[in-house]
């Protein structure tokens, strides 16, 4: 396999194995020592490092923005988009005024392969795998849905108690190291101002809550910002998104990531559901990776720019 010698020759328009993504991360760090570093926030169940790229121009514990992709491993367009976002941040810093302004005052943390065991498994054994890969005691079924395992309405309606279900919540909140590692990191950092967790597919931009119909206290602001973000997203290729709170827009989901982050006080908590625009579902052709990443970036920039301009 022709290994890329640097991130400029990395092929963003195709899907990559976990080792190719990990070596991309190391190359990006090596090429940008004054902007990018790698923070290993923990290990997956099978012992893979949970790598988070930190984009920082200095300071100490600056207000920060979190972006994660691939928490559901089969949603390949998200990890591929996350890789493209990493390069975009490095390329735009010093060139794009908005990105430069944000990074001169804030840090950005990007976890591209948030569920590495699951991702490896989709490449080697089962392309349809969504959950983690930890065995469940007392069951022949493996894995927990890492987007039902958070301590936010945990165990309520909108998650399954059956280990064989795709939405199995796990034996207790934060039982999965892939989740617990983020929880501990966010708590120890203590200065996150935005948290964006990226899924696919169904073209939605969602904000809390999923486990309760009680509106988020910042609902109006979150709703308006989401509307602006999906409008800019659609401006590139016309990809139409729906938006709103999780429970009003899709269904009740308990133990969800951004419900927990919002309850931690991270106001700008959003979940994206990226393309498919029509007929491929999770098997989105690789030629749609870059258009998907480009349109999503416009929405991400709205959220990051709003976070930067509305400190709290």
């Amino acid at each position: 396999v022709a290994e890329p010698r640097n991130t400029d020759s990395f092929d963003f328009s195709r899907y990559h194995s976990i080792s190719e993504i990990y070596s991309f991360q190391d190359m990006l760090v090596a090429e940008n020592p004054n902007l990018v570093s790698k923070v290993v926030i923990g290990q997956s169940y099978e012992g893979r490092p949970l790598n988070v790229l930190k984009f920082s121009t200095g300071g100490t514990n600056r207000p920060a923005i979190w972006i994660d992709t691939g928490i559901h491993s089969r949603e390949w367009v998200t990890q591929a988009s996350g890789t493209w976002f990493a390069k975009k941040i490095v390329t735009d810093y010093g060139r794009d005024p908005a990105v430069t302004a944000i990074l001169n005052k804030m840090d950005i943390f990007l976890e591209i392969v948030t569920n590495p065991d699951g991702y490896f498994y989709t490449h080697t054994s089962n392309r349809m795998w969504r959950k983690t890969r930890k065995p469940n005691s007392g069951s022949s079924c493996v894995g927990v849905d890492p987007n039902r395992n958070w301590d936010a309405g945990f165990g309520g309606p909108g998650a399954s108690s059956n280990p064989c279900s795709e939405t199995y919540r796990g034996p207790r909140a934060h039982s999965e190291s892939e989740v617990k590692s983020i929880v501990d990191f966010v708590k120890s950092h203590g200065n996150f101002k935005a948290f964006i967790s990226i899924h696919s597919y169904s073209q939605m931009l969602l904000y809390p809550y999923g486990y309760t119909t009680t509106p988020a206290k910042d609902q109006a602001e979150l709703h308006n910002l989401a509307q602006r973000a999906i409008t800019d997203l659609a401006s590139l290729y016309g990809t139409r998104y729906r938006f709103g709170s999780i429970i009003n827009t899709i269904y009740q989901a308990s133990g969800g990531t951004i419900d927990w982050t919002y309850n931690q006080g991270i106001k700008y908590s959003y979940t994206f559901e990226l393309r498919d625009t029509g007929r491929y579902g999770f098997i989105l052709p690789a030629n749609q990776i870059i258009p998907t990443a480009e349109e999503t970036w416009l929405a991400l920039m709205d959220i990051m720019d709003h976070t930067f301009k509305n400190p709290y």
Binding site: R14, T124, S125, M128, R242, T249, I250, Y251, G281, I283
Partner: protein
Amino acid sequence: KETFEGHQVLRIVAKDDVQLSLIKDLEDMIEFELDFWRGVTDVATPVDIRVPMHSLQSVKIYLETQDVEYSIMIEDLQVLLDEEQEEMESAAR
């Protein structure tokens, strides 16, 4: 390696809430081993379900007898996965 020959992904569109709950009932039919790619949300939003070959006929009969409209989004999932794999390998080469 798990393969998916003959698995189809059905795109189901409920006409009303009665049909929506009929589709939701499919979630509890464990024997069909259905994989909800897009879950049941509201009448306006299609539901996408991956159906293993062994359940296809039963699921289609269930939908057709209840007059629930569906289309076949993916005819044979394994064909699409083989294309994806081939594309990855040729791009890597």
